[in-house]
């Protein structure tokens, strides 16, 4: 696994897309910090960019890279090496490459311009989203034989997570606003990894407002450092479950 990881990472380190991603994030982050004279305001814009862009890029890149390296994956699969080692090495390399790119493009500007808890949380959830959507992208690529369809499924998944899920949940909240459905809506929102990442940053940014809200469920759920634990658990789950499915699929897949 480590050998596959090592050489895949060497390949990814010189991948133009990965470099482009790092530069794009750097450009966006630096641009926002430059345009806004107030760094904490730039952070708020950055939150929205990260929550939309990171899942999209992780998904699409992973899917495209998986299809493009299919022949090479075949070559690896005929070597005396277990399939799970191949997949683990590739997944790990993809995650590492994207995380490093993001650390450079997003983490660095945050450390320079705004070294605080909210920025730390943004880096943390951004990293979590990279892991989650790389895992999902890999699963999609393994499940769909055609590249175009794979990318299509990826875009659909992204759209569901980034917009449709919240829209449905808010519609639910509206239509049952007279019923005590808070205990359902809040945990449901937290099930979406993008929402979870956003809530984590928001618990820092909107802390003042959050403390004005006395809802018990809310507090139980995200209270103090419990929020980070819940978030980490949710993100981990979203990483582990698709990855397990990926391993199962890859183990039986005809290459």
């Amino acid at each position: 696994m480590l050998k596959v990881f090592k050489y895949t990472l060497i390949d990814l380190a010189r991948n133009r897309f990965v470099l482009g991603y790092a530069l794009l994030m750097l450009f966006v982050a630096e641009g926002l910090f430059f345009v806004e004279d107030d760094p904490s305001k730039a952070l708020l814009s950055l939150v929205q960019v990260v929550m939309a862009l990171v899942p999209l890029i992780a998904l699409v890149f992973t899917i495209v890279y998986s299809y493009d390296s299919l022949e090479f994956t075949q070559l690896l699969a005929v070597q005396p090496i277990a399939r799970r080692s191949i997949l683990a090495g590739q997944l790990l390399a993809l995650c590492t490459a994207l995380l490093v790119a993001q650390g450079f493009g997003l983490g660095l500007p945050l450390i320079v311009h705004l070294p605080n808890m909210a920025a730390l949380m943004l880096s943390f959830s951004g990293s979590g989203l990279v892991l989650v959507f790389t895992a999902l992208g890999l699963l999609i690529a393994l499940k769909q034989r055609e590249k175009a369809r794979g990318v299509g499924v990826g875009l659909t998944v992204w759209f569901l997570f980034v917009l449709v899920y919240d829209a449905l949940l808010m519609a639910l909240m509206f239509s049952f606003s007279d019923h005590p459905i808070e205990p359902f809506v809040v945990p449901l929102a937290a099930l979406n990894p993008i929402d979870m990442g956003r809530i984590l940053v928001m618990l820092q940014v909107d802390l003042a407002a959050m403390m004005g809200y006395s809802g018990a469920v809310y507090k139980d759920f995200f209270g103090s450092y419990g929020g980070i634990a819940v978030a980490a658990a949710v993100l981990l789950l979203w990483f582990v479950v698709p990855t397990l499915f990926s391993f199962r699929t890859f183990q039986r897949k005809d290459l």
């Binding site: 107030d38 305001k41 919240d166 809506v185 929102a189 909107d206 003042a208 004005g212 809200y213």
Partner: protein, 405 residues
Amino acid sequence: MEVLAIAAPGDTIHVYGEVHEGTITIEKSVVLIGHDGAVIDGGEQGEVVLIKSNDVTIEGFTIRGSRISNLEDNAGIKASECRNTVIQDNFLDGCFFAIYLSGSKGALVEHNTVVGHNVRDDQMGNGIHLWKCNSAIIRNNTVRNHRDGIYFEFVTDSRIIDNISTGHIRYGLHFMFSHRNEYIGNLFRDNGAGVAVMYSHHMIMRHNRFEANRGASAYGLLLKEINDGEVTDNLMMDNTTGLMVDGCNRISVERNEFRNNGWALRLFANALYCAFNDNAFIANTFDLSSNGELKENVMSGNYWDRYVGYDLDHDKVGDTPHRPLGFFALLVERIPYAMVFSRSLFVSLLDRAERLLPTLTPAALQDEHPLMRQQEWVGKADKNNGNAPISVRTMNGRSNDMDHG
């Protein structure tokens, strides 16, 4: 201390490093100055220093040991029905009430450090407590960890200047039925409920900082039933609610900076003839919320960091009005737990749509002349000439050093 009995009015008594135990009652006009750590310890008997004469000065003592009581407001220094009392440079350490003035005229309370012992609510009195006083000056004191930091009831024509009031269970500063007072250049931070000004008129509030007052009913500043007031050049930062205005008339809120609050401004619709001009609203979760229309009030020339208009004629004023009351703020008023969707893509799309085509938000509530950039001088609450320079860690991690001249 026995010398007090033989002193003549007008004498000055110097006390060097002595620990006095028990209550001291001063019934003649003397100047009492402590040196080298002079201590007066009431020994939990009741009052510690009781002033019953005009023209008394207490200076330079450490005062402690007033008894906690449910029946009596025992204080570290209490003056009743006196004129021209001066209390300065003392350290009031863990008193039930620290400085208690009732019916006094022309008192000066200056350069004291007042620290309560943070115990239960009912075992804690106010730091500097004034009842039925007038023409008092409370200046350059540091007050920490009491129930109310500074409390005024039926106090008129007095000034509260350059004090630091932090970590109190209830209010950092609390006015009840107190008129024509002003407080300027103070710092109120991390108090259970912030600062409350209630049932008073002709109040001047300038150059103060209201910071980090958080909780379900915590405000930077709560104005309740206030007529004719002026809230100018203040900074409201990191509060659950920056400024709450309930039942007020003719208040002018100008040149304040609202930064990083949950709600910058909460207005009840019963406000009349209030003006909200030239303020800056930055990085608040909500800039404004209200429970109705605000017809007789004006709002103009503010800087809103959420404003997305343009300035084609380059007069630094946006060409389209700004509607500070967003769809999401209204939603959260109705369904509080909707907060979980704060800053999500869907919500920001809805908010943007609402600003373009208002259907839910009241039309009257808008700033016709929103500024494109924040004015330099807005919210500069830096006139604090308090005791020692203190560094305040803010939420966004930068430290704001206060200039204490």
